[in-house]
């Protein structure tokens, strides 16, 4: 297994040593980027050692936003953890809801009615749209584009958040899904509005590609930067657009076919280089696929109940046992691992956060690159500190 030697973190130390060979200690510059740094996407710190502007060592430091989410989950009832999941990755509360609901449904063996499944798909794909659009906005913003791409992304995101608000009552902390279905049905006229928003989305993507798709500066800044090999990506548990940009065909929507994803016709875009540019483009292409799913789902959605009648809201006590439920969240594999001891609170409530695990390879991608690339690479990983630190 020769390739596997390169996937260990010892390889990083080896590379650091090589880069710093012949350089005295005093010539290296240690910079602590963060926790209050404009482009660390929250309170995140990178202890960087620089040789000139070249990164020779980088250690991510997290935990500034740690609130022991898992402990809170253990001390609360199953239902009461649902609003807390909104606060994990606060950009995509609906997919968090779904992952948690899926884990509890697996644990307790609850079915979800057809209409609720469609509602979940629609809201989750809308979440993916708004997450990806803001992420590429943030990424280009980090590369110094004065906010213009970000503002365009936010303009579109706002339309989707308005949809969320009129459906769930809140723009970001949606708290929408329940074990065995969804909380409330679509209000009148919602579907038409959503169709209009989705129909306008490709235009935004075209605009985005005009603005930056062939921009020489963007290409120079992103192509060949932070390349992540296939083997390392798999071994390090990297998921989501990062993994697919490295050319690995692994989309949980296709693999697990959770919910009703096997009913939709969509494709999984794959990159070949695994660099920042590929991650950027994969997100754009994924948005186009999400639009396809949304078109189909909003066309096919059947009438019917939105909650499983057997599902209990008060006094929900699943049988003792355990379950791991995972979905393809916009940032990667979001999993919830629950252990029930038969009481009203989970004995163990574990979140498998995609951005936290994806951060593992940050050093691998950054060593040898310039400090400005670090920012671009971090932006392309797409972390949300609410989820990293929990």
């Amino acid at each position: 297994m020769s390739s596997m030697t390169e996937t260990t973190s010892a390889a990083n130390d080896e590379r650091s040593r090589k880069l710093t060979a012949g350089i005295s200690e005093g010539q290296l510059l240690e910079v602590s980027m963060g926790p209050h740094h404009p482009s660390t996407h929250g309170v995140f710190r990178m202890d960087v050692v620089l040789d000139g502007e070249r990164v020779v060592k980088l250690k991510p430091v997290v935990g500034y936003l740690h609130r022991n989410h898992e402990k809170i989950g253990e001390n609360n009832s199953y239902l009461a953890s649902m609003p807390y999941t909104d606060r994990l990755d606060y950009l995509c509360s609906l997919t968090n809801n779904w992952a948690y609901a899926l884990a509890v449904e697996t644990l307790a063996g609850i079915d979800v009615p057809e209409r609720a499944q469609y509602l979940r798909v629609i809201t989750a794909e809308l979440t993916r749209l708004q997450n990806h659009s803001s992420v590429i906005g943030f990424l280009v913003q980090d590369m110094g584009a004065s906010g213009t791409p970000l503002m365009y992304a936010f303009r579109e995101r706002e339309k989707i958040l308005d949809l969320f608000e009129s459906l769930t009552g809140s723009r970001m902390m949606c708290n929408y899904m329940r074990f065995g279905g969804c909380r409330i049905d679509l209000p009148a006229g919602w579907l038409d509005r959503a169709k209009k928003v989705v129909a306008g989305f490709p235009q935004f993507l075209d605009e985005y590609e005009n603005l930056l798709g062939t921009n020489e500066i963007l290409m120079a800044r992103t192509q060949g930067i932070g390349a992540l090999s296939r083997e390392l990506a798999i071994n390090a548990g990297v998921t989501g657009p990062l993994l697919r940009a490295s050319g690995v065909n692994y989309d949980i929507r296709k693999v697990d076919k959770y919910g009703i994803y096997d009913r939709f016709d969509f494709k999984v875009p794959l990159g070949d280089n695994g660099d920042v540019y590929d991650r950027y483009m994969i997100r754009i292409l994924e948005m186009r696929e999400s639009i396809k799913i949304l078109d189909q789902a909003m066309c096919d959605i059947p009438p019917g109940p939105i909650m499983d009648p057997k599902a209990k809201i008060r006094g929900f006590r699943p049988k003792a046992g355990e379950a791991y439920g995972r979905i393809e969240a916009p940032k990667g594999e979001l999993g919830f691992y629950l252990i029930s001891d038969g009481s009203g609170n989970p004995y163990r409530y574990r979140v498998r956060p995609p951005s936290f695990v994806n951060l593992t390879v940050l050093e691998d991608m950054c060593i040898g690159n310039y400090i400005a690339d670090t920012i671009a690479i971090l932006g392309s990983i797409d972390i949300v500190l609410g989820e990293v630190d929990r």
């Binding site: 009832s77 239902l79 005009n210 109940p305 909650m307 599902a311 008060r314």
Partner: protein
Amino acid sequence: MLGEGIVRGLAETARNFLGSFVSKERLTTVQFPEERLPQAEAARDFPFLVYDGEDWQAGMRCVACQICEKECPPKCIFIEKSKDKKPDALGRAQFYPARFDIDVSVCMSCQICVEVCPFEAIKMDTAFELSTDDRFGGLLWDRQKLALSDAHYHAIHPTDAAHTDELLAAEKAKAEARTKAAVAKASPAPMPQPPAPAAANEP
């Protein structure tokens, strides 16, 4: 050719620059204090206690069952049960909250209290401009501040409120039927237990 992408980008920003003067689609800003978007019907901010009729103390639906206190995820509700009982909307004697405080600075607007309430007594308000200069006291709301009329509920969530009314009416009819049956049997009427409607299924 070098510079092509840059020129395309410049053309796009120019289009947006001009577009922001002519198209409302592009310039989506709402200038908040002067312009206000209508609030969505599903909007939720902080809970309030519904009361029927005019007097908030007499008409309060809450029976201090403390389910919401237990289920509240951030534990921001404090309830003290009353010593005595007062008649509720159906005329049955019920406890009432002697104290019902919500720490709004802790509340996370999750609506779980509304979902678990079997008496349709707590609902979500839509008022959001609640700033206060008192950091500790000003955000701890007592039952008087929390009590809002059923009419207010109808005004902010008409569909929801209509549905709630149906549920309550059905319950009332059931209760009346049971009382009648009990009277007909002329046996001592059992203490009517409020049946728990599936609150989660409300549309």
